[in-house]
């Protein structure tokens, strides 16, 4: 996360606490893309992500005065709210996010078990394969999308949003070791899925 955004955000949240609409709008444009991007990866459903961003912003409006910069970073607090809203949305809809892959893959990929991964159907049996181009990026996008919820969240928070493992632990409300373990297994799973699609690690890493 950009430190300049953090500083600007703190100045804005103080004004939002005073019910400043202009500051609220600026705050929205400063953070909504990052929040929406995270929620869409988490929920894999655009409308749900829209709703969640709404809920997060309303929570910010109502709770701005509760933010205390001495107790932690603004972005950590924000993403913690977003993660929580995302989980509540998933509970409300009663199932994990709809995907563009077969349900059997969804069930396998979303099994909440860090130590035991079931393999997804092989690439040959994947009816979606014809839709996937040979480009590595798309293969990786697909692999990221079939990871479990927790693994997707850790990857997104780490690489897309630049949070430390301590901050991710706070956002996801879990111990730091759990964050590291989830990432470790996410990496392993990604490599497996990637190879299942017929790509070698060497291709992905550019042969290094």
């Amino acid at each position: 996360m950009n430190p300049a955004n953090e500083k600007r955000g703190i100045a804005l949240i103080e004004r939002i606490a005073l019910k400043d609409r202009k500051a609220f709008e600026e705050f929205y444009y400063l953070f909504a893309n990052a929040l929406g991007g995270y929620l869409i990866k988490m929920l894999n459903h655009h409308d749900w992500a829209d709703e969640c961003v709404n809920d997060v912003m309303l929570t910010i409006w109502q709770s701005a005065e509760r933010f205390d910069a001495k107790r932690g970073k603004l972005t950590t607090w924000l993403f913690g709210i977003a993660h929580n809203k995302g989980l509540k949305t998933l509970e409300r809809v009663g199932r994990h996010a709809k995907r563009e892959v077969p349900d059997e893959w969804v069930d396998a990929a979303n099994k909440e078990d860090d130590n035991d991964f079931r393999e997804t159907p092989t690439a040959k049996a994947n009816p979606e394969r014809e839709l996937i181009s040979g480009e590595l990026g798309e293969a990786l996008t697909w692999a990221l999308s079939v990871l479990s919820l927790e693994h997707r969240c850790v990857i997104e928070l780490c690489f897309k949003n630049g949070f430390s493992y301590q901050e991710i632990a706070e956002i996801m409300a879990c111990p730091e070791n759990t964050v590291k373990t989830r990432m470790f297994h996410a990496r392993k799973r990604l490599a497996e899925l990637f190879e299942q699609r017929g790509y070698s690690l060497a291709e992905l890493t550019g042969g290094t």
């Binding site: 709008e25 990026g137 430390s164 590291k180």
Partner: protein, 230 residues
């Protein structure tokens, strides 16, 4: 061929930190530990390359969600509804009070601890100063003057240039207060000084009556000595 150095525990610990080594959020010490291990561990170097590729793809992906004026307008409409609802639920006085209280709370939370303590100490010192300076004045102003006066208080007879003065030695055992009061009324006099070390009092009387007064004083059974002061 995998070249690993150190214990398995060290290898696992470093492997777990690789993603955060890539995003630059490790502490200096942690990053140094990873760098040292990477120099000798091919396995971790391969993992690092893979994670870098994942990170690159993740970051370079087109934004999945875009903020928009239409979306914000929807949020703002909900905010206005919320505010309108809370406006109708609160009385104006309560709203003003809450707003001020909310501001005070926020201001207090945002003030550094050292500043808070300084302000508290200064407020206490100021309050103590006010109490010390103002309260005694108020008490003095509100007190009804007592009837007690000292012998040195200015009185009408002693101020008159036409008053005569007598030095008197009373019989302390025989003279009661009521006797003294009756005597002074009789001679139209007032005690203006005394007692001296020898027990003498100075009584001032109206000058016109000084001879008659001397006679009365000399005859009083509880007066041992009378001397006119020239």
């Amino acid at each position: 061929m995998i070249d690993q150095v150190g214990t398995n525990e060290e290898h696992e610990a470093v492997a777990e930190m690789l993603p955060w080594f890539i995003n630059g959020s490790l502490t200096g010490r942690e990053a140094a530990r990873v760098e040292t291990h990477l120099q000798r561990c091919q396995d971790c170097r391969e993992h690092l390359d893979f994670l870098r590729a994942v990170s690159r793809e993740n970051v370079e992906q087109a934004p999945a969600w875009q903020a928009s004026p239409a979306h914000f307008a929807g949020i703002l409409a909900e905010v206005e509804q919320l505010e309108a609802k809370s406006e109708t639920e609160l009385s104006p006085k309560k709203k003003e009070g809450l707003s001020l209280l909310a501001r005070l709370k926020r201001g207090f939370r945002q003030t550094p601890t050292a500043v808070r303590w300084t302000l508290a100490t200064e407020s206490f010192a100021l309050a103590a100063l006010v109490i010390v300076l103002v309260v005694p004045q108020l008490r003095i102003e509100n007190t009804v003057p007592g009837e007690y006066r000292t012998l040195s208080d200015a009185d009408p007879i002693s101020k008159l240039e036409s008053s005569a003065r007598f030095r008197i030695l009373f019989d302390h055992d025989g003279m009661t207060t009521s006797d003294l009061v009756a005597l002074l009324k009789q001679v139209h006099g007032q005690i203006v000084e005394g007692p001296t070390q020898l027990g003498f009092f100075t009584v001032a009387v109206v000058k016109n009556d000084e001879d008659a007064t001397k006679a009365i004083l000399q005859k009083h059974p509880n007066i041992r000595l009378v001397q006119k002061i020239e």
